[in-house]
Amino acid sequence: MRGSFQWYGWIFIRDARCEDLRCKIVESKPHETVLMAMLKRFGDTVSVLKRNNVTIMGNGETPMIFAHGYGCDQHMWRLITPAFVDSNRLILFDHVGAGKSDISAYDRAKYSSLDGYAEDLLEICRELDLKNAIFVGHSVSTMIGVLAAIKEPERFSRLVLIGPSPRYINDTYYEGGFTRKDIDDLLDFQDSNYLGWSASMAPVIMGSENEPELSEELHNSFCRTDPDIARQFAAVTFLSDNRDDLPEVRVPSLVIQCQDDAIAPTSVGEYVRDHLLESDMVILNATGHCPHLSAPEETIAAIKNFLDA
């Protein structure tokens, strides 16, 4: 008779934010009972989903995971998600420190580089067993997605990178758009908005009659970030350099570039496209850095074009 058996159990998880049941197969290790394994798995599952305030919606098969950029939270995808909710399974989350993520999970050492955030993204993917997912990232999350796709490329079938920049500070033969002094000024500016921050970043809504569904849920949490975490995230973002990572990506990618984007200028978008192995770039008519907010239809069209190709 052979040594240990492996037992299998099932956990059904109903998450308040999810719209359906999710089924998880649990495999117990030889030294634990099924019950122990199920309880442990349940604990882990709940904690990753809770840590990043993961929201799951949609009726489709192909998973699509959205990663917000510096400054806000998953609500910034609100205007885009309706276009994909029927055809895909949408996964949204908040980076630790943003939105309704679990701030107690913030670890200065872990999040002192973008790798910490990439690890979180991969944990969510593992937790939900995502494979061949479409990744949509904005700003700094484009590089977070790049790092994750290098580590576990089988999890991603496509990368959509909105306003990417692998490095913000100018270098010899590289125009990131900013000098070191600019970034230092930015970090000081962060501090000066700190005192005004809590007043302004949790404002009372001033009469938006046309959008009544912007409820309680939004008005205190959107763009609310712990000031210290915001400062470190800003430093990590704007001092990062991921140029050498670009050529390692093995997933087909799309760069969505706006005109007149002070944060990720067109030349930087071109640099990203040129250094990714398999990539395309589309320049929108929209200006600024957040086309998914300022020109959602154009953005949706660009993404759909890419996915259908």
Partner: protein, 478 residues
């Protein structure tokens, strides 16, 4: 009052009031500005309306903030209240402002217009910076107090402990939560020369007090501290609180004890050769005759006295001025023979082993001979009767080694690390502790002043080898 007057007043208030009004498209293109905002910007109207975006009027950090946070917030919430920006003014210093904005949508719900009210926040920014600055400096101060190894505490005018830093906890063992609220008197005693009421009286008059005191620690033992009390006044002009810094003076006390010991020992050591000299002289006086032995004894004791005094003087000089060396070319072989001869062969056999080639170093002749004399004297002192002592000179690469080897009692392992410390004295075979404890200290300082070092190897019962290493400099190095 006519409608026209009211209308005109509204217009004027809109254009010239204390607030800047701004209307832009969703992408930030400026559609309308009032006169106040125009003045603040430093541009002409045609340079703004349909010509620039609102973002272009901001400093670079502000632009990043606008794209990453301000616009998303506005877009998602429909309004933003009191966000701080810096207006990059044309040809002038940036103006700190606060902005309140509303997003206007059309009938279909599409956003079309951003309407903003902008306030000059120069004063507010100044207050904020002041607040941040004073927060930072008080955090720094708190950090200094926290990290200090001294005990830094504060107490009320009646002596009740109000704050207690980590240093105090480490020194005395009491946790902050246990001792705050109790009287400091319960653990801190002033000693005999002064009383608590006298200390408090001094403090009330505004005089800081510095006293040596004794603290009763949590585990029962006492610690000697030097306590500095500083009074602080409150707004009303009376004593508000007293800060106390306490430093453990155990080390200072140890040094004081060491100095007292040293004084006692020195007096004893100096007295004994003087007694010998006097005694022998008196013998000669009483017998009124020339006595060879007595005279030899007198000269020997006088030599010993001279050496003691030389050591004392040198140690004192090292302490105050450091050791100055006058270097000249010295043949170590000759120096070794000189030192041995000076000590006199007497009852001991001192063997000198030298290499074929002369060993030349740059050395101060006086100090070199003093060092060799000290080492040889020690070797003889700690050897048994009739045992020989060896002086061996060798060359190792670019270093010259002078080894003084004895086969005496050796040195205990516990003594070895402290051997070259000032005032360190080791028990001899008879259990006495002779000497000032300066000889080896002086040897070490001399060796170091020449760029060398001194080491010892010893086995109790078998003897000791002291090795001085000196660099051999070629003339080119000088």
């Amino acid at each position: 009052m006519s409608d026209e007057l009211l209308h005109k007043s509204v217009e004027e208030l809109y254009e010239e009031g204390p607030c800047g009004y701004l209307f832009t498209r969703i992408d930030g293109t400026i559609l309308r500005v009032n006169d106040t905002l125009l003045t603040w910007s430093g541009y002409a109207r045609h340079e703004l309306v349909h010509a620039r975006r609102f973002q272009d009027l901001l400093t670079l950090p502000g632009q990043i903030f606008y794209e990453n946070q301000f616009f998303p917030l506005l877009r998602m919430q429909g309004s933003v209240k009191e966000v701080a920006f810096d207006f990059a003014r044309h040809g002038r210093e940036p103006l700190p402002v606060l902005i309140n904005s509303i997003l206007r949508t059309d009938a279909d719900g599409n956003p079309t217009l951003i309407a903003s009210a902008i306030f000059d926040a120069t004063d507010r920014r100044a207050y904020e910076l002041e607040l941040i600055r004073s927060q930072r400096s008080s955090e720094q101060l708190a950090a200094v107090v926290r990290m200090s190894s001294d005990a830094i505490i504060s107490m009320s005018p009646t002596g009740v402990v109000e704050t207690w830093n980590d240093g105090a906890k480490r020194l005395f063992g009491y946790a902050a939560e246990d001792i705050i609220g109790t009287y400091i008197r319960e653990i801190l005693s002033p000693g005999d020369e002064v009383s608590w009421p006298e200390i408090m009286a001094d403090l009330r008059e505004g005089h800081p007090v510095q006293r040596d005191m004794v603290v009763q620690c949590a585990d029962g033992h006492s610690v000697d501290v030097s306590a500095g009390f500083t009074p602080h006044w409150n707004a009303v002009g009376s004593l508000g609180s007293v800060s106390v810094i306490m430093r453990d003076i155990a080390e200072r006390r140890a040094i004081e004890r060491l100095q007292q010991d040293f004084l006692a020992v020195t007096t004893h050591e100096l007295r004994s050769p003087v007694t010998g000299i006097k005694g022998n002289a008196q013998i000669m006086q009483r017998r009124a005759e020339y006595n060879e032995r007595a005279l030899e004894a007198i000269i020997a004791q006088a030599d010993k006295l001279q050496r003691l005094i030389d050591d004392l003087l040198l140690a004192s000089k090292i302490q105050s001025d450091g050791l100055t060396v006058v270097l000249e070319e010295t043949d170590l072989t000759a120096a070794a023979y000189r030192a041995v001869t000076y000590l006199g062969a007497g009852e001991r056999e001192i063997r000198v082993e030298v290499p074929e080639q002369p060993l030349v170093v740059f050395a101060d002749q006086n100090q070199l001979s003093q060092m060799l004399t000290n080492l040889l004297t020690n070797a003889i002192k700690y050897s048994a009767e009739g045992e020989g002592v060896t002086v061996r000179l060798t060359r190792h690469g670019s270093e010259a080694h002078i080894s003084v080897i004895d086969h005496g009692v050796g040195i205990a392992r516990d003594d070895l690390p402290h051997l070259f410390d000032r005032f360190y004295r080791v028990r001899d075979t008879a259990g006495r502790v002779p000497g000032l404890g300066l000889g080896l200290y002086i040897c070490r300082r001399i060796a170091e002043a020449h760029g060398g070092r001194i080491d010892v190897h010893s086995q109790p019962g078998h003897g000791s080898t002291f090795t001085v290493t000196l660099p051999m400099q070629t003339t080119q190095d000088r």
